[in-house]
Structure formats: C-alpha cells, structure tokens
C-alpha cells in the first residue's frame, strides 16, 4: 500500500519535474519575448509620436472624412494612427513569437492559423471601414436631401440606408473571412427581400393615398413657387 502510494507520488513528481523542465524555459522565454516586444512597441510608439508628421496622410484623413468617422472630434492625426498601428503590430508580433517559443503542435498551428488569417483580417477590416464611411456619406446625403425636400421621416430613411449598407459590408467581410458565410447570405437575402415586400405592401395598401398627397403637395408647392418667383435669392 505504502509502496503503491510512493510510486504514484514519485510518478507525479517525475511528471511535474518533466513538465517544469520542458515548459518553464519556454514560458520564461515567452515572458521575456513578450516584455521585450512590449518595450519595443512602447519605444516605437514614443519615437513615432515625436518624429512622424505625416501631413499628407492627415490631409487625406480629413478630406475623406475618415478622421471624423474614427474619432467624432475629428482630431485623429496620422501620427497617432501610425504610432498606434506600429505599437499593436509589434505587440501582436511579439505575442506570436512568444507563443511559438513553446514549439508544440498546438502553438505552431495557432501561429500558422493566425498568420494565414492576418491578410484576410486586414481586408475585412478595410471592407468594414469602407462600409462605415459609405454608409455615413450616403446616409447624410439622403438625410440632407430628404430634409430640404420636406420628405417624411428623413432620419429614419437615412438610418435605414445606413443599416443596409453596413449590413452589406458585414456580409462581404464575413465572406472574406469565410465566417458563417451561408448564415449571413441567407439573412441578407431574407432581410432585403422582406424589406422590399414590406415596402411594396405598405405603399400598395396603406401608403398610396399618402404618397399621392405628398406628390400633390410637392406639385402645388412648385407651382406656387413659380408664381412668386420674382423673389430671387441671389
């Protein structure tokens, strides 16, 4: 009984010893690599904040509206964008190197999978950013136009358009990542089909009178503007 217990304990201690001698150096190496990458990332960020100006990128960010898209105050500058990107790139690179220090099948697969996924993630990110920009731009176009044309519920119209565009962007991004491709596609078709059907029914059954009234009002408005057109704004 005592012998059996001793054998079990010895085996456990051996296993622990084996695991410690096998993984402790790797863990220590990984921690050191993580620390080094953090220090490098922080140093690179500090350096870029002081050295990099990127005025052309600033101009592009401002003129394209991306600066206000990513930061409501519009204070996003190329310096911050580049410094933070480099910081996170070094940090993620350090993490991957640290993980690969274990040199096991699992960690190698993880690193490999992440590296393969990286370009797709980048493209998907760009698609989402483009979608966000387009949805904001077209949503605002519709909003301003609808307000100036005195159409009903301009904000809802604009919000609807934004949702549709963002949804399309998400579907395309998910397709790029091969993530729940069929689910998103089916949801998209159901949503768009359902929306079209709902609008058709609403206009056909309940909205035709309202639509006729709206068109009539617009026509009368135009005619009355014609009558008082001696008034010129210029």
């Amino acid at each position: 009984m005592i012998n059996t217990l001793r054998e079990i304990l010895e085996a456990a201690v051996d296993r622990l010893h084996h695991q410690v001698t096998t993984y402790l150096p790797s863990t220590l190496a990984a921690v050191i690599l993580l620390l080094v990458s953090y220090v490098l990332a922080a140093a690179a960020r500090w350096f870029l904040y002081r050295v990099f100006k990127g005025m052309t990128i600033d101009k592009f960010l401002r003129q394209s509206g991306v600066a206000f898209l990513l930061d409501r105050s519009g204070r996003l500058r190329a310096t911050r964008l580049v410094a933070e990107t480099v910081y996170w790139a070094i940090l993620i690179g350090g993490f991957l190197i640290a993980v690969s220090a274990f040199d096991t099948d699992l960690t190698n697969q993880m690193v490999q999978g992440f590296v393969f996924l990286l370009p797709k993630l980048f493209v998907a990110g760009l698609i989402l950013l483009g979608g966000a920009w387009l949805s904001q731009y077209l949503g605002r176009s519709l909003l301003v136009w609808a307000v100036n044309e005195n159409l009903p519920s301009p904000r809802r119209l604009a919000a609807g358009l934004r949702i549709i565009i963002m949804f399309v962007a998400v579907v395309v991004a998910a397709d790029q990542l091969s993530f729940a491709r069929n689910v998103f596609l089916a949801a998209f078709i159901i949503l768009v089909g359902g929306a079209v059907l709902a609008i058709s029914l609403a206009v056909g059954i309940a909205g035709s009178q309202s639509l006729r009234r709206l068109i009539e009002e617009k026509r009368e408005q135009r005619e009355s503007e014609g009558e008082r057109s001696l008034w010129t704004h210029l």
Partner: protein, 450 residues
Amino acid sequence: MASVTLPHEARQAAEVIRRADIVIGIPSYNNGRTIGRVVQAAYAGLAKYFPQFSSVVINSDGGSTDNTREAVLSARLEDQHLLLLNTPLFAAHRLSFPYHGVPGKGSAFRLIFQLAARLEAKAVAVVDSDLRSITPEWFDLLLRPVLFAGYDFVAPYYHRHKYDGTITNSIVYPLTRALYGYRVRQPIGGEFGLSTRLINRYLQRDDWETDVARFGIDIWMTTIALAEGFRVCQSFLGAKLHDAKDPSSDLTAMLEQVVGSVFMLMQEYEDVWWDREGSRPVELFGFRYDVGLDPIEVNVDRMLAAFVRGCRDLGEIWAAALEPETHAGIQALGRQAAAGVRDFHLDDELWARVVLDFACAFKKHRVAGGHLIKSLTPLYLARVASFVGETRTLVPDQVEEKIERLCLTFEQLKPYLRAHWDGPDARNKASRKSERAGPPRQDREVSRND
C-alpha cells in the same frame, strides 16, 4: 489655363471678326421672352455711347429649347425708334453659340471670355438675359469706367426690393466685405464690366470646372478682383427687375454653389484676408435716383417649418459644423419656432457665427463639403424669415441700415473667425502671419476711395 477649346464655329467667327474693342456677353438658357430686349438695349448702348468703338454682342447659350438663340439673332434696334445723334463707325456684330462643358452660367461666361481674349477686347460687359429693367445706359455705366478710367472690375449697384437678393444680403455681401475689406454692395449681381487684364487672369485659372461653372461664377469673379488687387468700382444701374421665370427654384443647389465658392476662395485667399480689418467704401459711379419696385410675396411659415425640420433632423451635422455655443443658440431658436413664437428673431451675431462656423467646418472638412452647405439651407431660411419679420414695416433706407449693422457684426467677428479657422494653432499662426505679411495690396488704391 484649363484646356477647353473654343467651339469650331466660335473660332471661325473670331477669325472673321479679327478684333473688337468692346464685347458684350449675354449668357442664356430658355430666355427667349426677354433676351431680345436685352440685345436691343446692348445695341442701343453701343450705338449711343460708344459709336467710335468696334463691338460684338455674344450670346452664350446653354442649349435652350425655346427660341432664345433666334431671338438674339433677330433682335432689331430699328424697332425701338431711337434718335441717335452719332452714327456708329462700326456695325456691331452679334454671335450666338452654345457653350460646352458643365451646364451653368460660369461655363457660358468662359466662352464669352475666351472669345473676348481672342478678339483682344479692351472692355467686356456681361449682363443677365432675364432682365426686364435693363436700359442702354447700363452698358455705358459698366464699360466707361473700364475704357476711360482704368478700372478692371465694375460691379453693379441697384435698388432692389427689400426681400430680393437674400443670399446677397445675409451671406455674400457681409462675408465678402468682412473678409476682403471692400463694400461691394452687389458682389453677385450678375452684371459686370471687366478689363482685358482681368479677363486674362480669369482664363489663367484652372477652377472653371468647379461650382464656378454654375452659380458660383459671380462671387468668384468679384473675389478674384478684390483679393488680387485689381481696381474695382461700382456703377448705379437703377432698379433690377427680372423676368418672372427665375432659376431660383432649387434653392439648395444655388446656395451650395454660391456659398461653396465663397468658402473655397476663403481658403485660397487666406493670406489676403487674414490681416484685413474693417472695410472701406468702393467708388460708385452713376446718378442715384429712387425707383419703384415690384412687390414680392414670401411665405415665412414655410421657411420656419423648414427650419424646425432642420433642427429636428440635422442636429448631427450641425453639431459637427457649429461651435457648441452657436449650436445651443440655434437649438433654442428651433424650440421657439416649433412652439410657434410670434416674433421669431435670429439675431445678427448668432447668424454671423453660424456662417463663420460653417466656413471653418468647410475648411476643416468636419463634414463632407456638399452635405455641410446643403444643411445650411434651413438655417438660411430661418434667417430670411427673421429678416422678413423684422423689416416688414421698414422703408428701404431703414432696411439698408439693418444690413449695414449685420455687416458690422461680421467685421467685428473677424477675430472669432481667425481663432476658429485652424483650431488651437490659430493664435500662433496669426502671429506668424502678421510677422511676414505686408500691408494689403489694395490698401493704397482703396484709400483714394475713402
């Protein structure tokens, strides 16, 4: 120079005519009802006041589907039964061409200017084709300062109904005056006299394909003349009455083109206006007299409804465009308008801040340029509604005093504009600019007009 060549038939005509001392340009689009009279006035003006000069009347048409071009080519001076004491030494030519490029008044002017440059004209006058109050004297008043007094740019000065020209009165005149320091009362009047020097400068520019091609042309011409040190004066033309057909039905597009051009030029001429303070009068030619004007109906309720809609739905854009205090002021007014307050009042200072904030937001690209200026429409209508309410019982001189007060408010807010133009760095920039900038180029010339 941006490369747009003259249409073949225009080039051929220029080769036949070879030279002309005076060019009169008339842009048109479906103005068959009025353009004949404008052409007759041009002919009579040339015959009466400039018989010793060779001249051409050019109609630049935007593809009219009525009889506009036929009306130009068939207008006869003889129908007017004028007694002319001088016999013109040269017969005035007349040409009518469709212009190419972006449809709009600016593109029409471009063709006229290109032809004028090719004909080596000494002076050019441009007039709108929908005018009902034009007389032969207008051409004397627009051309004489250029031909005989060395001016480069003659702006019109008219009597207009107090509700007429509201973009001019509420935005363009006060802002242009505060920026460049010159009191050109009708900077987007539509009738101008121009020298060859200035025409050549216009043709050198490469922004003809922007809003300048459309309604932005008038303020573009005026601003370049003011900002680049050309000699500028005004001529009193009497009353301005248009044809009942008015292209102002799409207010938003017009506002976008005019205000967009003002804001675009503000950025280009930042170094010019930055240090200018106050304003000076600009010499005015012509005998001033009072005239009767057509009554104008305006629907204030509809304007206020548009403003209330804007407050309700455009808050997101206005919040990005306006400074927080200005935005709060507008929202408070919106609540008043929605509650149906009887005496709606958008005061001068708040309005001036709105315009200046929009100019700064346009410069900083806070919101896409088109969205930004289109979202100004409800605010502009609120200002017009307020102006109409406040001036309902006022006589023209009192209305003019009110516009003068608005202009002074814009001038007083110039430091506010400078402080917000570039954000937090503006103060440093201001000191840098004042160190390197000399006195404004026009100051010496303008001081003669004081």
